[in-house]
Symmetry: C2
């Protein structure tokens, strides 16, 4: 499959439009390949030529989010390095990114979602947190478990935010993260 081929691009665009619409209407687990294809006007056979199953399709969808998330977190680290300042709430861009992509996170964190998606976040945030921790704590030797601890702690706050239906503001979340980091 040539991802540059106009036909492929068109197919995937139609598929994504259908997905976004269906996500507004119904639960993740209720979205069938059949329906996705009917709505996007492609045949099921075409879908299966691209993806093994629905989960693999969503993973591609999520990969796009991860790119953005990475950029927003690196923004924070880079700024700290350049100005050599201590971390303050308005330097954090993570929650801003999450809030802007609320709808997507709403389906990723839903109970019907697949654990593989969460793992994608866990793994990516670990990489980011690790390089950030290494830059800040040059003297300490870091284990993978300390990184996993910190990375998942942050994910815990996002998850809690999701459970509270994103009621707290981005600024409030930034402040809350700071208090936990200082404990």
């Amino acid at each position: 499959m040539n991802e540059q081929d106009l036909r492929v691009i068109k197919t995937k665009k139609n598929l994504q439009l259908a997905l976004i619409q269906l996500l507004k209407e119904k639960d993740l687990e209720k979205i069938k390949v059949t329906e996705l294809c009917r709505l996007s006007g492609i045949t099921r056979r075409t879908f299966y030529l691209h993806y093994e199953n629905v989960r693999k399709y969503f993973e591609e969808f999520i990969e796009q989010l991860l790119e953005e998330l990475e950029q927003s977190m690196e923004k924070t680290t880079k700024y700290r390095m350049m100005t050599n300042q201590q971390l303050v709430p308005n330097m954090i861009h993570l929650f801003e990114h999450v809030y802007l992509n609320k709808e997507s996170y709403q389906f990723i964190f839903s109970g019907n979602s697949n654990f593989a998606y969460y793992q994608m976040f866990f793994k990516r945030i670990k990489v980011i947190v690790k390089s950030s921790m290494e830059l800040m704590d040059l003297d300490h030797e870091l284990t993978d478990f300390q990184v996993a601890y910190q990375a998942n702690a942050i994910l815990g706050m996002i998850l809690e935010w999701y459970f509270e239906n994103f009621q707290k503001s981005v600024e409030e979340m930034n402040r809350l993260l700071m208090t936990s980091l200082r404990i």
Copy 2:
């Protein structure tokens, strides 16, 4: 449905035996209701009279694990309260419980698993961590987000342990948790 009814008990027992066997043979997502029923000698109709779908069935299975997990974590807190000692590695019983139930956790944390199962752990550990934090830090006012942070941090270590295929010993995990708690 009367859960005490001998017929129900028999049905569920047969189902669980079939599940455990199938989990050894194949991936979680590959286990079909049809197969589960064929192996346990019950009809598919009976299965659906008890559970909405496979996920709901697993949730019941996991609930049993959560009971044990809760007890092992409370053991730690209670001992601390009684002896009024500072937390030391050999007081932690959490990882011991996880290790003993390795097989179960292996399927809960697999990529094919459902995020709902993880959420069950998240929610339960939050409750436990909260009461533990409140007992220790009587002066501080706790937000749900601080609790979520700590609870998920611990889950992060378990998750990392799973990814490393439980190579580290229970004692090592206890020590590793201590270092992260002190950061």
